[in-house]
């Protein structure tokens, strides 16, 4: 199993009542409520927590990036990744991920990622995302071309990492006169690429077609099973058999010394009005063209206020009941995580430990208890259930480097020599 720690790095010092008053906490929510002094404190506390994450035995630290919203302070994922590359020694630095369509020059991203990989001595996992609708709006990148840009930027980055320069790229969205960066990743053929998502069929299919592990973000068990049904079918059509090494799962999971304290802290996961990405306008969440034609009618009704998203503001109790949020003592959370592991069989598991206003001390307690008592138990369960990670199996980094079957294969990772 590959076990990772995650937090959204919330700007929890913003005044929540203002979010309630505005009715949204993204894009047009004024940044006068951002306090840089508190921001400085929070960034530094997170870095201290990440060092502890490594000390207590996690395998990886998962990072992400969002913009113009208090729920996530990471405006540039590669900055935090570069810091972690220098201050940690063993953990994988798992970026889930760089929002590719926002990039105006993907080769520059390829260079930044290569630097992170070299500084960390080959510990980078370079996930990619499309970026949310809010990101399209704030970066002013056309949502109608979001998926095209994602795919072209991906192709360009992989080629940059694997094809010696100089060469020229004349694409639909990116044109580069000379591609010949003097920064290349240490891992060969290239760093692993993982793709996180919240069940968009196109992304699941694309990930499976490339044999990139898909990381299901906090979905209910039944929805996760639907994801794997699609993934497994596309994998079979693509000539390989998918298994736990292609399956990742992120779950909110807070651990404390007592159940009472854990649940009290877990209420902080509801800090963004019940949605961990905060309140947003349906137009901003998925601007026109961002989703395929299949979503047109439903989105038209939603944007006009004729319908509403189901499940928004579900109570903590309801979320705990359907196992999309876990909180308790180490023993309690292991029991619940076992259910998820048995039902959905992920080889990659990310524990989203802390959010909202959970204090620095309680965050560290959560990390420490998880490392000391939860992770060893999960590793045992993983062994029992045969949940092996891409690292355990040294799986190919992609279908392009696969010999067509699961398990050890040509194209698994090696440090460049």
């Amino acid at each position: 199993m590959h076990l990772m720690y995650f937090t959204e790095q919330p700007m929890s010092a913003y005044p929540k009542e203002e979010g309630d008053r505005y009715g949204y906490t993204a894009l047009l929510f004024p940044n006068k409520f951002f306090d840089p002094v508190e921001g400085s404190r929070l960034y530094n506390e997170r870095l201290e927590e990440y060092k502890l994450v490594e000390e207590v035995g996690y395998d990886g630290i998962m990072l992400n990036e969002h913009h113009t919203a208090p729920f996530c302070m990471q405006a540039k994922i590669n900055i935090c990744a570069a810091i972690l590359a220098a201050i940690t020694k063993k953990v994988k630095i798992v970026l889930l991920g760089n929002p590719l369509p926002l990039a105006e020059n993907p080769v520059r991203l390829a260079e930044e990622l290569a630097m992170i990989d070299m500084i960390s001595k080959g510990r980078l996992v370079s996930g990619f995302v499309r970026g949310g609708g809010v990101e399209s709006l704030q970066a002013n990148t056309n949502p109608a071309f979001n998926r095209e840009r994602f795919e072209e930027a991906h192709d360009l980055i992989v080629k940059t990492w694997t094809t010696p320069g100089p060469w020229r790229w004349e694409g639909n969205h990116y044109q580069l006169r000379v591609v010949n960066p003097w920064a290349l990743p240490m891992q060969r053929p290239h760093p692993r690429i993982w793709i996180p998502g919240v069940s968009s069929r196109e992304t699941i299919v694309w990930s499976a077609q490339h044999r990139y592990p898909y990381i299901a973000l906090n979905l209910p068990i039944e929805e996760s099973k639907n994801v794997w049904k699609i993934y497994d079918q596309v994998a079979e059509e693509s000539g390989y058999q998918a298994g736990p090494a292609e399956r990742g799962y992120l779950i909110r999971c807070h651990v404390a010394e007592t159940e009472e304290k854990a649940i009290r802290n877990a209420r902080e996961f509801m800090w963004m009005q019940g949605e961990f990405t905060g309140l947003t306008h349906p137009v901003w969440a998925a601007p026109s063209g961002y989703l395929g034609p299949w979503a047109r009618k439903a989105m038209a009704e939603l944007r006009a206020g004729y319908t509403h998203v189901r499940g928004v503001n579900a109570s903590l109790e309801k979320q705990m009941k359907n196992l999309t949020l876990i909180a308790g003592t180490p023993e309690q959370v292991v029991k619940q995580l076992r259910i998820i592991m048995e039902e959905t069989r992920p080889g990659i598991l990310a524990l989203y430990g802390n959010d909202g206003r959970i204090s620095h001390e309680d965050s560290k307690t959560c990390i420490r208890l998880t490392g000391q008592e939860v992770l060893p138990a999960l590793r045992e369960i993983g062994k029992e259930l045969g949940l092996e990670s891409p690292f355990d199996l040294n799986t190919p980094v992609s279908l392009a480097y696969s010999n067509g079957h699961a398990g050890k294969a040509a194209g698994g990772l090696a440090a460049a020599s």
Binding site: L27, L28, A144, W284, G289, A300, A304
Partner: protein, 136 residues
């Protein structure tokens, strides 16, 4: 693609629903309801959505204007009538003024109404057009 305003901004349709955007184009909300009903049908919403997807593709950035436009329309030397709604909250009057200034023989008429004069003030627009053509 239109012309960049010198005063004000073109209302950003990509930040609001199609329903709110079309409503904003009418000075007279009664007229909106007469054409589309108080609560437009879902089919109408879908049509607006398809239109917006095309606007996204062609007018995302720069938003709804072409910086070459003032230079290009200098070549329009025929008599031209520009009609603008006084209560147009979608595209500022400064755009109408720029059209008029850029085209040597353009005339600007500002009348009561919103952005969709052809729907909201069709009789007045037809009257202005007929008299403009008759005068030439």
């Amino acid at each position: 693609m239109g012309i960049q305003p010198t005063r004000g901004e073109i209302m950003d349709q990509f930040l609001i629903s199609t329903l709110d955007y079309v409503r904003a184009g009418f000075a007279d909300q009664g007229k909106f309801a007469e054409i589309y009903k108080e609560r437009p049908d879902v089919d109408q919403l879908v049509t607006w959505e398809i239109n917006r997807e095309m606007s996204t593709r062609i007018a995302w950035k720069p938003y709804m204007f072409n910086q070459a436009m003032p230079h290009l329309i200098k070549a329009v030397t025929v008599p031209t009538l520009v009609v603008w709604g006084k209560q147009n909250h979608v595209v500022p009057l400064s755009c109408g003024e720029r059209y008029q200034q850029a085209m040597p023989k353009a005339k600007l008429e500002v009348i009561d109404g919103g952005h969709y004069l052809e729907a909201e003030k069709h009789s007045e627009l037809a009257r202005l057009t007929k008299s403009f053509i008759a005068a030439k």
